[in-house]
Structure formats: C-alpha cells, structure tokens
Amino acid sequence: MEIALAALAFTLLVLLILSHIRREKVINKLVEERTVELRAEKSKLQAAISAITGLLVIIDQKGTVILSNHKYSEVLGINYEPSTIAEIQQIFGGSYDISGAYNVALRQSRVIDHSSIEYKEKFLRVLFAPVQDTNGVLILLGDVTEEELLDRARDEFFAIASHELRTPLTAIQGNLAMVLEYIDSGHVDHLKILEMLKDAMNSSKRLIRIVHDFLDLSRLEQGRVKFEEQKVDLAKLANEVLIEYEQEMKTKNITYTFDNKSTGAAVFADEDRVKQVIVNLVSNAVKYTQGGKVSVVLQPLGEMVELQVSDTGIGIEPENQKYLFRKFQQAGRNVLSRDTSQGTGLGLYISRLVIRAMGGDVYLVRSEPNSGSTFGFTLPVKK
C-alpha cells in the first residue's frame, strides 16, 4: 500500500513537473513571439521616423533624448548626436531658444510651431508636440530654406511691381493736379504747363509699357504664349532694329556696324518675338553707352545661328553679372539700388523666356566695367 502511494505521489510529481515545463515552454514561446512582434513594430517605427524628412527627436521630461531619426547632419550639419536638450541648445547658441520652447511645450502641454528660424545659411521650421505616454516632447526640425527664399522673392516681386506702377501714377496725378491748380489760380506759365502735361503723357506711356511687360511676363512664365513658326530673316530684322535706333544713337554720339557672316541657313521661329529680343539687346546697348559704338554680328554657331550685340558702354561688374537674367534685375544685387529710370528690369528675363521657348538661348558673352558688354542669342537652324 505504501509502495502504491509512493508510486502515485511520484507519478503526480512527474506530471506536475511536466506540466510546469510545458507551461514554461508555452510562456517562452509567447515571449519569443511577442519579442519578434515588438522587434517588427520597433523597426516599423524606426522605418517610419526615418522616412520623415527632417530631424525628429523625442525628449523626455528630464531633457534626455529618448528617440531620434538620426538626421542631425542632414538638417543641422553636425556629425555627432546630442543626448540632451541642453546639448541641442548649444548647437543654436544664443540665436534661438529651442530649450525654452521645449519647456513651454512640456509644461503647458501644447503644440508650438516656429515657422522660420534662421540657422547658419538655412531657414528651419521647428515644431514641438507634447507626447502624453512618454511624458516628453517630440521636436521636428525641417529645412524650409527653399520655400522661405521663394516667399521672399515673391514679396520682393510685389514690392518692386507696385513701385514700378506707383512711380508713373505719381507723376501723372501730381502733374495734372499742378496743372489744374495753375489754371485755377490764373497762373499762365504756358511753358511750365506744357512741361507738366508732357511729363504726365510720358508717364502714362511708361505705365502702359510696364503693364504690357507684366502681362507678357506672366503669360510667358505660364507657357500660355503661342509661338508662330515662320521663316525668319535675322539679318533683315537686325537691320530694321538698328534703323529704329539710329536717331537715338545719333543723339548719344554712337556709331553702329552690322556684320553679316551668316551662311544664309534658314531659321524658323516667331518673327515678332525674335525682333522683341533683338530690340531688347540693342536698346540695352544704346541705353548704357554714351559716345561709342554698337556692333551687331550674325554668324553660324554649330547647329545654330548666333546674333551678338556689343557695345562700348559702362559694362557690368563681374560680381553683378550673375544677376543679369533675373527678374527685375539690372545687374545689381540690391533692390534699393535699382535704376528705375532705365526700364523695368524685366527685359533680359523676358528675352530668355522667349528665346528658350523657341529652342535657343540668350547669354552674356563678355563684359568689362568701363569698356562694354557683348550679349548674344542663338536660334536653331532648320535642316
């Protein structure tokens, strides 16, 4: 009997042990499965935050970085990984209080968005969002330099555009008001009145030209201009333009030459638009030359035909040459030093849009301050 009891007890013990082992196995299996799942989730999360453009860091309430997508070098241009908010603050130095914003986001549990922070040569957008579960703050730093510069260019465009419209309007309104006042008060200085009316008239012409340029520019930029394809005689056009400017050149003591080295290959383009570009280059040459020479050369250039317009005028400083084809530029970087009496500063910009739309290009060939400039454009030859 005792033996039987002992055997039973032993069997029970063995069963107990076996079941325990089985349970442990099940638990181990569960743990293993869960670990794999967690790992998968973590790598998914890591993949997700890596895919975010911009630097993402999560900082806990003690100021320690607990998660990041490591894009420090991409966004901040640094080759180490800061581990606390204090270290991140050091990167910005005194220029931006990132630590202060982190504290506000943490204490007040609210989202903070700083849309344009200057950092080195860049502009950053910095977003702070409190993370409830970890009791920390998520900070997202994005590079918005391109957007910021575009915004500024647009603001500048509007500032200059309204300046260009306001100036002739001021002259028209002011001169007419003065004329009315003169006549009203019995003041009869006819010469003065004539001068004022002439200024009002010339300013209204200037205004019309500016509005025309603006509309042309906007249509060209949007690709809404239809270009004719007709046989264009560049030599004939160049001669026409030079004759149109003959009088003005005479009064400015400028002589001109036209050298036709063309093989007579046919160019198919929009005649009016080609003429617009030649007018732009010749009028610039005349505008910036006082007593000197304007020379036009037509010549073959590979598969293209090139027309060059040279002058012996004021020339362009090397550092300003890269601004030539920009909107509203007259080869000067500073908006404030634009010469508004010399046109809208849209001529070369429009010429480039026009010529490129016809398969050619327009460019500065060479320029030297005080000795003159050469501009050229090409158009493809039809085979």
């Binding site: 200059i160 300046h163 100036t167 002259a171 002011g174 010339n202 404030l336 010469d339 508004t340 009496s341």
Partner: protein, 128 residues
C-alpha cells in the same frame, strides 16, 4: 513771395524731380535737386538745406547708403530728412527709422498740396 527755407530733392527719376521742384518753387522755396546720392553729397559741401526729400531706390547709392553717410558727418547729422518713396514695404519703413527720419511718405499717396503741408510741418518756424 519768398521763403528762406532750402529744400533739397534727391531722386534719380527726372520726372519726379521736376514735379517736386515745381511744387516748392511755386510756393517761393529755394530748391536744390540732385539725381543721385553722390551728387547730393557734393552739394551738401556747399550748403545745408532746411530739409531733404529723399528717394530710396536709386542706382549706385541707395537712400539708405546716403543716410548712413550724412548721419556720420557732424555738419549734416541733424538735417531733417523726409523719405519720399514708392517702395512701400514694412521692412524698409522699419529699417529707415534708425537714421532719424522725420517722415516716411509713399509718393503715390500724396497730392502736391499734401506733400507741401508735410514738408512745411518739419520746417522750423523761423525759416518759413
């Protein structure tokens, strides 16, 4: 009708110079004009105007550059300047304040009579 005050007009746009010259000459003011900051600086060696009307957007030397120069010189550091421009950005308006500018006026917003009143308001009474 004659006034002691000398008004200096600095503007690269000839039509603007003619307009403002007319406005003040009719009222008997002495007008000195310059088509650039450089020309104005030269004229300032010979005379001290009662007030300067200054354009901002000018080639070679902008209105800012001009102000910077005259504010450094003992002789011209206190001459009243009225900025008269069509460049109406907030930045410009804000930045110009550091040069002790009396007024910042947008040309197209002012009729000749109003310009006259604005300028007269900064001329010391004894000069009128």
């Amino acid at each position: 009708m004659s006034n002691q005050a000398v008004i200096m007009i600095i503007d690269d746009d000839a039509s603007m110079v003619r307009l403002y010259t007319n406005i003040f000459q009719v009222e008997g003011y002495n007008v000195v004009s310059a088509s650039s900051g450089k020309e104005a600086l030269e004229k300032l060696q010979q005379l001290t105007p009662t007030v300067i009307l200054l354009d901002l957007m000018m080639p070679n030397m902008s209105g800012f550059d001009f102000l910077e120069q005259i504010r450094e010189s003992e002789k011209t550091k206190d001459v009243p300047v009225i900025v008269l421009t069509n460049l109406a950005t907030d930045d410009t308006q804000q930045e110009i304040q550091k040069y002790n500018v009396k007024k910042f006026l947008i040309k197209s917003d002012y009729m000749p009579k109003q310009i006259l009143e604005e300028v007269q308001s900064v001329i010391p009474q004894t000069d009128k």
